[in-house]
Subunit: 269 residues, 2 copies
């Protein structure tokens, strides 16, 4: 246990705290690591919190008591959220993204880490009051953003598989009707993926009629867990009435016009 | 442009640099943000680099010239890598993980953000000299760790889909024979997901005979990209000869004995 200079201590503390959002570090852990008194570390934490708030980089939460400590909350400011979603909408509005059939190519955006880190922080900022225990998504394209949301929350991710090809022990499957295509599909979840009674936040990349998310509600009912909220990156304006009532879309897709090569997509926050 | 105190500047700099691994920040950007001279920032960067090295938290790389700047490299030390892989092997060796058929349940580990951040940093530390342009994986279970690897590299991820259900414009499909099951499967990739000539690092969660990765080599050949390396979290000891010659496995699974309830899995590094 060698004594560490204040500046080095601040740098290391900032790195340790921010690389594990939501993880509760005990002050004793840092006292030993840095050879510093508890009162010194408490002062450090106040300074770090102030610097973070000055630059809108999230916040620190201190929890008192024997099991207490300090953790980093990756909260995104309203200004930062607006600016980011405007930038994202602009990127997605490029006519080159139109795929025959009136779809929008989004995979490059969905699979870019920097962007999805920010989407995860926005979902955390909007949904942390719901205190979920798990983040849930359905394969495939929503997985990266759901995983980044799980990281912002410091929670495990649960991935619902399409079909019933699961080779992970006993599983529960349901059939559901896709809202737009009116086709019957199945989705499944290994029994051991999530314990009964868990609170679940559903995160997905795209919602049109909401059939897939509706299916996840039915699956959640079967495995006896509660869905406490639903967030999607992009929701379509039409149909206005979705199969799921309560959801948050960060961007609204109003129109994809193949003929005139126009994409109308706008931030919802 | 208000002047910022040194401590606050250090905290903010550390956060900005480390939250975007691999991203090159120009010094001018920070000069404006903090109202500080370039020489001051250069000194700050030396201090941050020293603190990072002292606590084995990665490193900073400075790039000189007009297009230069500074970036964070999330390098993981040999000691840290060993300790982490031992811990992971211990978790995976629990007999409760054995699934009928002699499989090992790994989803909870694969979908825990904290753990996959570290796996991503290990792959970055081992493969950064290969200078890939893209990280590639195949759906589903390897996506979180491949995405965290993409984040450590500051690169986009490309996800190969199983089957040919892709609705993302023109795509290329191939058939491949699974190494273990001897079944014929197909996998596909949208044309626009990756440009010809790109250098690709393949990352996956599990390799037994290597049939899936072999399929990705064939697919890469079809879309005219070069696979420069392959990393898997867990490789099996048997069969010794895989369908892919050159790969790095972080953990080796020697045996899953359903009868005696024994899992033998060990770090390979």
């Amino acid at each position: 246990m060698t004594k560490v200079r204040r500046t080095e201590r601040m740098i290391a503390l900032t790195k340790f705290l921010t690389e594990r959002p939501g993880h509760l570090f005990s002050l004793n852990h840092f006292c030993e690591l840095f050879g510093a008194a508890k009162s010194t570390l408490s002062e450090d934490i106040v300074t770090i919190r102030q610097a973070m708030e000055q630059f809108a980089m999230g916040s620190l939460e201190t929890v008192s008591g024997a099991a207490g400590g300090v953790r980093f909350l990756p909260l995104k400011s309203q200004d930062g959220t607006c600016a980011f979603l405007h930038e994202l909408a602009e990127k997605l509005a490029s006519p080159e993204r139109i795929i025959p059939g009136g779809f929008l190519y989004m995979a490059d955006i969905l699979f870019t880490p920097d962007l999805m880190v920010q989407v995860g922080e926005i979902f955390f900022s909007r949904f942390s009051h719901l205190s979920p225990d798990y983040i849930m998504t359905v394969e495939t394209k929503g997985i990266p953003l759901a995983f980044m949301t799980a990281r912002a929350f410091n929670l495990p991710l649960v991935i619902v598989r399409q079909g019933s090809k699961v080779t992970e022990g006993p599983s529960v499957s349901i059939n559901y009707v896709t809202g737009s295509g009116k086709r019957i599909q199945s989705m499944s979840l290994p029994r051991r993926a999530i314990p009964p009674g868990a609170r679940v936040l559903v995160i997905d990349d795209f919602m049109k009629a909401g059939g897939t998310v509706r299916g996840m509600y039915d699956l959640a009912h079967e495995v006896d867990v509660e869905i406490v909220g639903t967030g999607v990156l992009v929701g379509t304006a039409q149909p206005q009435v979705k199969l799921v009532e309560d959801y948050l879309a960060l961007l609204i897709l109003h129109e994809v016009d193949q003929q005139r090569k126009i994409v109308d997509i706008r931030p919802a926050l």
